[in-house]
Every structure is written in structure tokens, then in C-alpha cells.
């Protein structure tokens, strides 16, 4: 029975359809978040002149926004370099993480020998490796991509293994009884059932990859948003500092939604593929 109720939960999770179903009066909830954010920004905007704070200590949201518009070329140029590092690190994470997850899932040797090592390695704080990576890989893109890769790799492997293991074993019996070989079992059942987990891992990984790239830039860089922020910091340009932080967040949000949209595309394709 436990298995059954688990399945029902899985099934009631609607795929692709983003219907959240607001209850009567639910519109309040929808606007509460936006209203709250506006209130905080308004308060911030008001408090700076009231408290007599200089731009140097705390710039107002308005001056940050107008600085972002003015410096859009500078910001987007540096954002571009950071974006490349993040995407490269994440892609390497996927290219190595997914095959490794498959090896762990299918091979006992990998599961017994490699998995514990992976978990042990995960306890090493990746951020602490940044100076070492610079030492070995230099000042270019390599240490940033490596850091983004190292930090995003683990959630990809774990979520894929968990996703593959979570499959109801009876589903395997079902397709086997139809005469499916392992190849078909994988593509018809195992992979589709694991996709929500895999994409969940991707979403965590892409956010972490941004952190990895920025940390790499903090340690040694000549370009990228992390570098720009350190520059702003050393020149006591707090407004640009804030503008950079917001650009980093926007980059993270953008990448998150790229994954999110890819997920619904893939799932949609799965639903309609024959």
C-alpha cells in the first residue's frame, strides 16, 4: 500500500501544466509578494535621505537602478564573461555527471567504490580550493570554469542517481513483460521517471555554478562580475557594488529559468513523442 500511495502522489504532480489553482481570494496572495517588495524598496528609498546617509554608505534603490542603466555596457560585458564560465562549468558538470550517475546506477562496483568517495569529496568546501586552482591553472578562465564545474557536479550526480533509484520496480516488470530490453526500459520508463529529479538537480547546480564562477573571479581575474565588484569595492563605489550584486542575481535567475523552460520543453516533447 505504501508503494501505491507514493505512486498516487507522483501522479497527482501535474507535468508541464503550470496550473497552481488559486483559491477564492487567492489574488491577495499573488499581490502580497510584489506589494511587500515594493514596500521594502520604498522604505529603503525614503530612509536614506531621512537618516542622512551618503550614497557611499547606502545608495538608494533609484540611484542603483539608474547606475545600472548608465553602466549597462560595462555590466553586460562583464556579465558575458561570467556567463560563459558558468555555462561552461555547468555543461562539463552535466557531461561528466550524467554518465557517472548512470555508471553508479548500473554498476555495483561503481556504486560500492565510487559513490562513497564522491560523498566524502563533497565535504571538502569547494570555495577553499579556489586559491589552489589559481595556483595550478593560472589567471584565465580555467580556474573559474573548474570551480563552477566542481561545485555544480555533485548535485547533478546525486539527483540523477536518486531519480533513477526512485522508480517503482513494478514498472520495470511491466515493460519487461511486454518484451522490452534494457535500452527500451531506460528510455521508455527509467529516464522519463527520473527527469523531474534530474532537472531539480540542474536547477540547484546552475545556481551553485554562478557562485563557483564568482568565487573564482574574486581570487584572481581580469574580467567578470566578481572582478568588477572587487574593483568597485576598492574604489569605494558602493553604488556600482550594489549594481554588480543585482546583475549577478539576475544572471542566476535567467539561467534558472532557462533550465525551467528546457524542462517543460523536454517533458512536453516526451508527452507528444510517439
Amino acid at each position: 500500500m505504501g508503494e501505491c500511495s507514493l505512486r498516487n502522489k507522483q501522479q497527482s504532480k501535474k507535468i508541464g501544466g503550470g496550473k497552481r489553482g488559486f483559491r477564492a481570494g487567492g489574488w491577495v496572495e499573488r499581490y502580497v509578494a510584489a506589494g511587500f517588495a515594493l514596500a521594502v524598496l520604498g522604505l529603503w528609498q525614503a530612509i536614506v535621505p531621512l537618516a542622512g546617509l551618503s550614497e557611499f554608505v547606502l545608495p538608494t534603490p533609484f540611484s542603483i537602478a539608474s547606475r545600472m542603466v548608465r553602466e549597462r555596457w560595462l555590466l553586460s560585458q562583464h556579465a558575458y564573461f561570467t556567463l560563459i564560465e558558468v555555462v561552461a562549468g555547468f555543461s562539463v558538470g552535466v557531461l561528466i555527471g550524467i554518465p557517472l550517475a548512470l555508471a553508479i546506477f548500473y554498476s555495483r562496483v561503481f556504486e560500492r567504490a565510487i559513490y562513497p568517495i564522491l560523498v566524502a569529496l563533497q565535504t571538502v568546501p569547494k570555495v577553499a580550493l579556489a586559491p589552489l586552482l589559481v595556483l595550478y591553472l593560472g589567471y584565465g578562465w580555467a580556474p573559474k570554469v573548474s570551480l563552477a564545474f566542481l561545485i555544480s557536479f555533485f548535485p547533478i550526480v546525486i539527483s540523477t542517481v536518486v531519480g533513477l533509484n526512485s522508480l517503482d520496480r513494478n514498472l520495470v516488470h511491466l515493460v519487461r513483460s511486454m518484451g522490452a530490453n534494457e535500452w527500451q526500459t531506460f528510455f521508455k520508463v527509467r529516464l522519463p521517471a527520473a527527469l523531474p529529479n534530474i532537472f531539480g538537480g540542474f536547477k540547484v547546480a546552475i545556481s551553485l555554478a554562478v557562485i563557483g564562477a564568482i568565487i573564482g573571479e574574486y581570487v584572481a581575474a581580469e574580467r567578470g562580475l566578481g572582478y568588477l565588484q572587487l574593483q568597485a569595492n576598492s574604489q569605494f563605489d558602493t553604488t556600482l557594488n550594489f549594481a554588480t550584486v543585482i546583475t549577478i542575481s539576475l544572471l542566476g535567475v535567467l539561467l534558472y529559468y532557462v533550465i525551467d523552460i528546457t524542462e517543460s520543453r523536454v517533458v512536453h516533447k516526451l508527452e507528444t513523442s510517439k
Binding site: 500500500m1 508503494e3 501505491c4 505512486r7 507522483q10 501522479q11 497527482s12 504532480k13 501535474k14 507535468i15 517503482d168 513494478n170 514498472l171 516488470h173 511491466l174 515493460v175 519487461r176 513483460s177 511486454m178 518484451g179 522490452a180 527500451q184 521508455k188 520508463v189 522519463p192 521517471a193 517533458v267 516526451l270 508527452e271 510517439k274
Partner: protein, 287 residues
């Protein structure tokens, strides 16, 4: 309308004749032969557990055989072996005279839970066996729709499993097993997870569908009434070691009505016979 598989392997549609009884029996049914089959499991401690002990019976083409027994009597193991998913330790099983070592192409299986793939529409779930066997999916679409209609789910083809109730989903699972016109339909406690009223309806519906298709069915259950109602024959099994204690022929004309269980003397006689076995074997203990 019902559909049958044509000689060329293509799916044709034929109009159902008005009198359902005119359809010849054993037209599509496979024959099953289980000879001296035992299944011995090795436990982790190295002990041997005899799940099935020297099972030996035959099922004629187009016959509905219900297997009834308590949990642990090996009935699911038996089904799994017939499905070609579990090898027998000794003895052999053949379907239509072919010894099986892997899933037989003419076998359809219905499990206790519906096992529908939630990312596929109802129609695509039903067509899954066709896809896996790399047959012509488009050619089978009308048959899938006809099957849905037969189980009262006309127009549900483009919905997703999450939009259907438990009983409806199990009907879809039955359609999926029927899509390739299985000569042998294996059902492993298919209604076990349903509520009592839904189950009663499903039992009647299964009888109706089977009376049209008339294939060979092996139906596993722990419900005595369910077994007597559906079966041409009821095999009564007991555990430790799992063996067939009684092979009971049910001679009640079809279509049978569920009220027989409460009104018909013959029906109750069969039920009593099975209960007597369970009491003698200590499966049911009177206080």
C-alpha cells in the same frame, strides 16, 4: 465493435454480432502447460524456501482460470513465471506448446497497481506494448479507442492518468494488456487495491469484456467469491510449500450476476468447498 488480430498481423475491425454468444470460444486463446514446476528461493542466511512445490496443470484455450490463495502461497511467483519474468527452478512452462524462457509475445499482464506512466496520455499508455514491440502504432490506434469504449472510457484517450479515478486507471491497465490481443492474459490481484463497490463493478465488467474476447485468462486473487464468480476453474493454493490443493470446476452458466454470491446454492457450495480447504490447512482458523 471488437477488434481481432488478422492473419497478416494487421489489426482489423469487425462489427460485433448482436448475439455475443455466437463468438466461438477459444478463438484467440492460448494453451498453457505447467509441468512439475517448482521454485526454490535462497534466503540471505543460505536457507532454502520452497515457494512453489511441484505445480502441474494445463489450461485449455479460451478458459478462465482463477487462482485463489492466501498471501505467501506462491501465486504471484507462479504468475511471474508465466509472464516470463522469473525462471522456474525445476520443471517447465509452455504457452501454445512453446517452452518459455522470456516474456511471450502473446501474453498480456495486469498488475495489482495500474502502473500507468503519468507522463503519457491514456491512449499512449495503452499503445505502449505496441511501441515496445515496434509494431505499427498508428494502425493500432482505432483498436485502442475501441477497447476504451468497451470499458466505458470513451473519450478519455487524451487525458492523463492523474485525471482518472483508481477504478478507471485499472480499466486502462486492462486495455493496455488487451491491446495486442493477448492469447493469454495474466492478472495479478488486479482489483486488490480498489474499494469494494468499484471492485464489484470491475469484476462484472471484466466478465463482459472477456465474454467478447474469449482469450485464456489466469486470474490471481485472494477473494474466494471473486474467484468463483469469474472462473471456469478455480485452483486453490496453500502456502509452505505452495501447492495446488484443489482444482474446482465451476459449472455456473454465464453471464453470471454478482447477486449469485448471496442467492445461488451452487455458488455458495463452491465457496464453502474452498473455505473448507483453507480451514483444513489452517489458513482460516475458526474461533
Amino acid at each position: 465493435m471488437i477488434a481481432t488480430e488478422g492473419s497478416g498481423g494487421k489489426v482489423d475491425m469487425i462489427e460485433r454480432t448482436d448475439s455475443m454468444n455466437s463468438i466461438e470460444r477459444s478463438k484467440n486463446g492460448a494453451t498453457v502447460e505447467i509441468s512439475q514446476v517448482s521454485k526454490i528461493y535462497q534466503t540471505r542466511e543460505g536457507d532454502e524456501v520452497v515457494a512453489l512445490d511441484n505445480i502441474d496443470f494445463k489450461i485449455g484455450a479460451g478458459s478462465f482460470v482463477a487462482v485463489v490463495g492466501p498471501s505467501g502461497c506462491g501465486k504471484s511467483t507462479l504468475l511471474s513465471m508465466l509472464a516470463g519474468l522469473t525462471p522456474a527452478s525445476t520443471g517447465q512452462i509452455s504457452i501454445n506448446g512453446e517452452k518459455i524462457s522470456k516474456p511471450h509475445r502473446k501474453t498480456g499482464v495486469v498488475f495489482q497497481s495500474d502502473l500507468l506512466l503519468y507522463w503519457r496520455t491514456i491512449l499512449d499508455n495503452i499503445l505502449l506494448p505496441i511501441e515496445i514491440k515496434k509494431l505499427d502504432v498508428d494502425a493500432c490506434r482505432p483498436r485502442a479507442e475501441a477497447l476504451l469504449k468497451q470499458v466505458g472510457l470513451d473519450g478519455f484517450g487524451n487525458k492523463y492518468p492523474s485525471e482518472l479515478s483508481g477504478g478507471m486507471r485499472q480499466r486502462v491497465a486492462i486495455c493496455r494488456a488487451m491491446i495486442q490481443d493477448p492469447g493469454l492474459l495474466l492478472m495479478d490481484e488486479p482489483f486488490g487495491a480498489l474499494d469494494a463497490l468499484t471492485r464489484e463493478q470491475m469484476i462484472m465488467d471484466l466478465q463482459a469484456v472477456w465474454l467478447r474476447i474469449q482469450n485464456t485468462v489466469l486470474f490471481i486473487t485472494h477473494g474466494i467469491e471473486e474467484a468463483v464468480f469469474l472462473g471456469d476453474r478455480v485452483l486453490v493454493m496453500s502456502p509452505r510449500p505452495g501447492r495446488v490443493d484443489l482444482d474446482l470446476k465451476i459449472e455456473i452458466p454465464r453471464p453470471r450476476k454478482w447477486r449469485l454470491a448471496h442467492e445461488d446454492k451452487d455458488f455458495q457450495g463452491y465457496v464453502r468447498q474452498i473455505r473448507d480447504i483453507f480451514e483444513a490447512k489452517g489458513v482460516l482458523v475458526a474461533h
